[in-house]
Symmetry: C2
Subunit: 112 residues, 2 copies
Amino acid sequence: MGKQMTEMLKGTLEGIVLAILAVQPAYGYDITARLRERGFTDIAEGTIYALLVRVEQRGLVDVEKVPSEKGPPRKVFTLNERGRGELEEFWRTWSFLAERIEQLHQTDETEK
Amino acid sequence: MGKQMTEMLKGTLEGIVLAILAVQPAYGYDITARLRERGFTDIAEGTIYALLVRVEQRGLVDVEKVPSEKGPPRKVFTLNERGRGELEEFWRTWSFLAERIEQLHQTDETEK
DNA sequence: ACCACTACAAAGTAACACTGAGTACCGGTA
DNA sequence: TACCGGTACTCAGTGTTACTTTGTAGTGGT
């Protein structure tokens, strides 16, 4: 993956995952699959699991072990109240940043 | 500054500064001022100077020392050819990410 | 018995923004 | 003269994050 993308995902990837969980509860392996569907083809599994450990420790999700027919038991993550709060703040922060960057983009374009 | 914003700036702040330099050459202190004008009121000076050292070492900018009437000499940074290339890649990466996140934002909104 | 796919875990690395402190130069004021 | 506010740059140390790599383990098909 490009280095720029790697750096840009820092701070956004967590929000992306929370947003995916907001749509519907999911387990790690499933989340990486959904990310790939949405165009994030190069995100390593290990990255997602590490991120899930963090959000669990911070109490943003509830966890439930569910047996699987094809492999080890699944850890299903559900966004809880705190998680929803965090996600809302993520959208606020994102909107703030995106607006200002888009403004710069326009200025930059017109310079050409 | 909020922790989320701090993390989100990773990978984007460099692009933001390059975009500002694309409009017009500037020195560190000036760049922080322009950032504040554009709404980034909480970005520490030290952060900008460290970033400028990095982009200089990577050869994205040309540097010129210019004496100042009110303080130490200014290090004026001008975006060069490599810097413009990097900036273009930044916009590509940004657009890719922003599109997908906005898509998620919509999905998330309609869920409510 | 082997292999592919599913599913999770963990250690080590690199990159980045922040904090806080420090240096230095100038002009104005008391 | 002595001080202070504004300008301008530097640097060491900290915490967080995503990536890489490797390993473990269960299931089903051939």
